[in-house]
Symmetry: C2
C-alpha cells in the first residue's frame, strides 16, 4: 500500500468512522508531500479530532468531507454509479488546509455530479444532529418499542404508508448508526433533550385536553413541511 | 335530507369525528327501520360513545368502521376512485348490531376493493395509537421543533431522503390530527409515555457512551423493519 499512497494525488478514506483512526495511523508514514486525503464520514468533529491525533504535522493534507447520499442499504452491493448526481457534499476544511487542497477535493466531488458546500466541523455536526441523526434515532426507537411487544405482528399488519415512510430509516445499518450516534454524541444528546422536552409539552397538552395547542403545533409543522421539497 | 335518509339502505357519515355527534343527532329522528349507518372516522371509542349518546335505542343501526387509506392530502380534491383498492378497513361492531347489518357494511367495503377485518373499538384505538397516531405526533413534533428555529432554512437545505420520508406525515391536516389525537387521547397518552421512556433510556445510553446498548436497540429495530413490507 505504501508506494501507491506516496504516489497518489487524492486518497479517499472510505471506511466506517470507527476504523478511521487506525487507517490514518497506518497511512500517515507513507503520505507523499502532494498527497491529499479526504473521507466520507457522516460525523466530522470526531474524525477531525482523530486526524490531528494520527496525522500530526501532516494534518493539513487531510480535507474532511461528508457526502450526503443516504439509503437504508449499505455495503459494496448497494453501490450505484450515479449515487452522487445532484447530491450534496459538505466539506469541513481545517485551518491547516491549503486553498489548493480544498479546491482539489471540491472538484473531485463536482466531477461525480455533486453540489459542494462548506462549513466548520462543529456546524456540520449540529446541522446533521437535527436533520439526520435525531430522526434516525427516533425511527429506530419506535420500531424497537414495537419489536419488544408480543402483538408486534398484529400491530404491523395494520400499519399503513405513514408508518412505512416514518420507519424506512429504521432498516438502516445498526453498526453504522451506532458509530454515527457515538461520533456525534454531544450534539445528538442536546437535540434529543430538546425533542423530549417538546414531547413532554405535547403530552401535557394532551392530558389537559388542550386541542388548541395541538393544532398550533401541527399547523406550524405542516406549514414548514408542506413548503419544502428535497432538491 | 329526512326523506332520503328514511329510504336509504346505507348511510355513510363521511365527516370529521369532531362533527359526528351533531350529524348523528340530526339524522337520528329520520332513520328508517332498515337504514344502516356507518362512518369513516380514524378513532372509534369516541365515535361509539357519541353513537350511544345520540342514537339511543337505534344504536344497533350504527356499524362503526375505519377505512385505512392515509395520505398527507385531505379534502374532496384529494379523492381517487381506486383509493380503497387492496386497502384495509376495520369494522368495530357493537353488541347491538345484527349480523346482517355488519355483513352489509362489510360487503359495501369489499365492493370498493378493500380487505375488511374486525376488532373492538378499544382494540382498534390501541393498535392505531401505536402504528399511526404516535408516528404522526412524533413527525409533527420534529418539524415543529425545527420551525421554531432561526436557522430552519439552513437546516432544511441539508435534509436528505431520510428526513423527507420521516416527515412526510407532518404535512398532514392539522385539524384532522388535532381531532384524532383528542379522540384517542387516553391510548395515545399511554403510548407517548412509553416512547418518552424509550428515548430517556437511549439518552442515558448515549450519555454513558454505551455503544453496545445503542447497537442492540438499532439491531432489533432493523430486524423487524427490514422483514416487513406494506401489503
Amino acid at each position: 500500500m505504501a508506494a501507491e499512497i506516496a504516489d497518489a494525488d487524492l486518497v479517499m478514506l472510505a471506511t466506517p468512522v470507527g476504523q478511521m483512526a487506525e487507517l490514518m495511523a497506518r497511512i500517515a508514514p507513507h503520505l507523499g508531500p502532494q498527497t491529499i486525503i479526504t473521507d466520507g464520514g457522516s460525523t466530522k468533529s470526531d474524525v477531525v479530532r482523530e486526524a490531528y491525533a494520527q496525522l500530526g504535522s501532516r494534518v493539513g493534507q487531510f480535507v474532511p468531507a461528508h457526502p450526503i447520499a443516504g439509503a437504508e442499504l449499505s455495503g459494496a452491493s448497494a453501490a450505484r454509479s450515479d449515487l452522487f448526481q445532484w447530491k450534496k457534499v459538505v466539506l469541513t476544511p481545517l485551518p491547516e488546509n491549503s486553498a489548493v487542497s480544498v479546491d482539489r477535493v471540491r472538484r473531485a466531488w463536482e466531477l461525480c455530479g455533486a453540489m459542494v458546500s462548506q462549513m466548520t466541523p462543529a456546524q456540520h455536526d449540529e446541522v446533521f444532529a437535527v436533520v439526520s441523526h435525531l430522526p434516525h434515532l427516533l425511527s429506530f426507537a419506535l420500531v424497537h418499542d414495537i419489536a419488544q411487544r408480543d402483538n408486534r405482528d398484529l400491530l404491523l399488519s395494520f400499519a399503513a404508508s405513514g408508518f412505512r415512510d416514518f420507519t424506512r430509516i429504521a432498516a438502516s445499518s445498526p453498526e453504522m448508526w451506532r458509530d454515527i450516534c457515538m461520533g456525534n454524541r454531544e450534539a445528538l444528546l442536546g437535540e434529543l433533550q430538546v425533542y423530549i422536552a417538546e414531547l413532554n409539552r405535547l403530552s401535557s397538552a394532551l392530558a389537559a385536553g388542550d386541542a388548541e395547542q395541538l393544532e398550533q403545533t401541527f399547523f406550524a409543522a405542516r406549514e414548514l413541511r408542506a413548503g419544502w421539497t428535497l432538491k
